[in-house]
């Protein structure tokens, strides 16, 4: 462990490498550019491959192909690039190809405001792709956490055979902090995707599942196994090729439900959160990413004033941890959700706390200025009066 001053975007990059990523195809975009920049330097150093792509569609397509050969692969972008990637992103989730995508969120719709920060892609991360695919999304708050959580994202993507999005923010990607990270990544435990345990002749294909909770083995392209990665993403129960007549409706039903169920059955392994002073809290601040830090600042200030405040910092956002939200708000009269959008997480919190009678309010900014603890305190006074 050596102490160093590390850039948030470099922390994402190192997390990917520590997790075993050895293929990166990307198209730079502010405020995520340094990830591509660092990867172009680091990939050759660790025996990996870096490809500068022509655009974001190409980036996603390239990493999908690379991952199908068995190499852990990743890319990064920001809002406008994430919008372009949705087609391939949905394909990869449906085709069950392990990938990690880091979204260093900028502010605003369309091209947005390149150098400013936001938290506006909570819903895009989950519902951006067509055709009812699920999502796994992790949101770090600090530079150090950006490293560990991106590493975790690689592991989850392999374990679950899915795409994991790391939801960063401009203000985190372009932040530097003193961190103490391992020097030797070889000592870090990594997870590898399930691969066939039967000889090639007996292998029934990459989607040979019989139970909804199954993550079936996937064979690497070029490994001697017949490996079809279907962009249709819908396969026969039990495996085998789809006949020329097409897919039976119950197979479609099974496949789509399995994409979700394989995550839900492992929700405990995905869900991450930090809970501070919620045991007796009459007001709970629920936040994610960098804005959760302001919530923690506000909590300390509120406690100093005699207000029983607590914080639930959501580290994994999707699948949304409803049961954690309910447990943390057991004694709460009110919940404040500070976020740099117009209430995307608040909607989810409201859903989790439906019929509890707990008052839920937001502190929302879309001017790319970070929410200050005092703004959360002002809302606390307002809501408790």
């Amino acid at each position: 462990m050596t102490k160093r001053l590390l850039l948030g975007n470099d922390a994402f990059c190192e997390g990917l490498i520590a997790g075993g990523v050895r293929f990166y195809a990307g198209y730079p975009i502010t405020p995520a550019t340094e990830i591509a920049e660092a990867m172009s330097r680091r990939m050759p150093e660790v025996g990996g491959t870096y490809v500068q792509m022509e655009d974001e569609l190409g980036s996603m397509a390239a990493i999908m192909g690379a991952s199908a050969t068995g190499v852990k692969s990743a890319t990064a972008s920001a809002g406008p690039g994430m919008a372009l990637m949705q087609n391939e992103l949905g394909q990869a989730i449906a085709a069950e190809i392990p990938l990690v995508v880091v979204n260093v969120q900028r502010a605003g719709p369309g091209i947005g405001n390149a150098t400013r920060s936001g938290q506006m892609e909570v819903m895009q991360s989950r519902y951006g792709a067509n055709g009812e695919v699920p999502a796994v999304v992790l949101a770090p708050s600090t530079v150090e956490e950006a490293f560990w959580l991106t590493l975790k994202a690689v592991n989850l993507s392999e374990m679950l055979r899915t795409v994991v999005i790391v939801l960063g923010e401009g203000i985190l990607g372009l932040q530097r902090a003193v961190v103490d990270l391992p020097d030797d990544y070889d000592e870090i435990e990594v997870v590898n995707r399930p691969r066939p345990s039967v000889p090639p002749r007996e292998f029934l294909g990459n989607y040979a599942a019989n139970e909804l909770s199954e993550v079936p083995p996937i064979a690497d392209f070029g490994s001697g196994y017949k490996s079809i990665v279907s962009s249709v993403g819908i396969s026969r129960r039990g495996g085998g090729d789809i006949s020329i007549l097409g897919l039976a409706v119950d197979d479609q039903d099974f496949t789509i439900r399995r994409l979700h169920q394989k995550l839900l059955d492992r929700k405990n392994e995905i869900t991450l959160f930090e809970q501070l002073m919620t045991d007796d809290a009459e007001i709970v601040y629920i936040a994610f990413g960098t804005q959760a830090l302001s919530a923690i600042g506000a909590m300390h200030e509120a406690r100093a004033r005699g207000i029983k405040a607590g914080v639930l910092r959501l580290i994994s956002i999707w699948p949304f941890p409803d049961e954690v939200v309910r447990a943390c708000c057991a004694k709460a009269r009110a919940v404040v959700v500070p976020e740099m959008n117009l209430g995307q997480a608040r909607l989810l919190v409201g859903n989790a706390l439906a019929n509890t009678g707990i008052k839920i309010v937001g502190v929302n900014r879309v001017d790319s200025i970070t929410i200050k603890p005092v703004e959360i305190l002002d809302k606390t006074t307002e809501v408790l009066s």
């Binding site: 001053l5 530079v143 932040q175 530097r176 902090a177 003193v178 830090l293 923690i296 600042g297 970070t370």
Partner: protein, 181 residues
């Protein structure tokens, strides 16, 4: 105790670099907890730019600078933008040719006029005004010795080492009587 520093100016003056070097000096050369953040306009040259550093002997929770204890203003626009954030009892270092009007600061804010751009010109490279600023800052605040800040500059900006060392020393040796509030 938590202390907050802001370097502000226009894009290409190197204010963000200033904050990175200072973060290195405080976090690695010294042993503080440090977070450095930055904000700049999409127009890289000429737009507003700022580099912030928060440091403490304890864990830093809120990473962004809320009310700077020290502001280094390299341009008039920076004064305009950040004057309101400065509370009485805080300290401001302004460039004595790039800044002309400091009337927007509240009473009780100590203003120091420092010849940062002038000294950079003396070195023959105006772009190192930010390094001069780090020298002035270190001396005036007493936070870092010349040796400590030099170490950080060399770690973070290894190019043009000779120019930077010269600029840093000129800034550090600035006549404190002249820049006194």
């Amino acid at each position: 105790m938590r202390t907050e520093i802001r370097f502000a100016g226009v894009g290409s003056q190197g204010t963000v670099s200033c904050s990175v070097v200072l973060a290195e000096a405080l976090g690695i050369v010294k042993d503080y907890q440090v977070v450095q953040t930055q904000e700049y306009a999409a127009s890289i040259s000429g737009g507003s730019a700022q580099g912030d550093v928060a440091f403490s002997d304890q864990k830093i929770i809120v990473p962004w600078v809320l009310h700077p204890d020290v502001l280094v203003a390299m341009a008039q626009d920076a004064v305009k933008q950040h004057a309101a954030a400065m509370r009485p009892g805080t300290c401001v270092i302004v460039d004595d040719i790039m800044v002309t009007d400091v009337s927007s600061f509240r009473k009780g804010v100590a203003i120091h006029w420092a010849p940062m751009t002038k000294l950079a010109d003396q070195v023959g490279f105006r772009k190192c005004a930010n390094i001069v600023a780090l020298g002035v800052f270190s001396r005036l605040t007493g936070l870092l010795t010349l040796e400590e800040i030099t170490k950080a500059v060399l770690a973070r900006a290894p190019g043009r080492a000779e120019v930077n060392i010269k600029a840093l020393k000129l800034g550090y040796d600035v006549n404190l009587d002249l820049v006194a509030a």
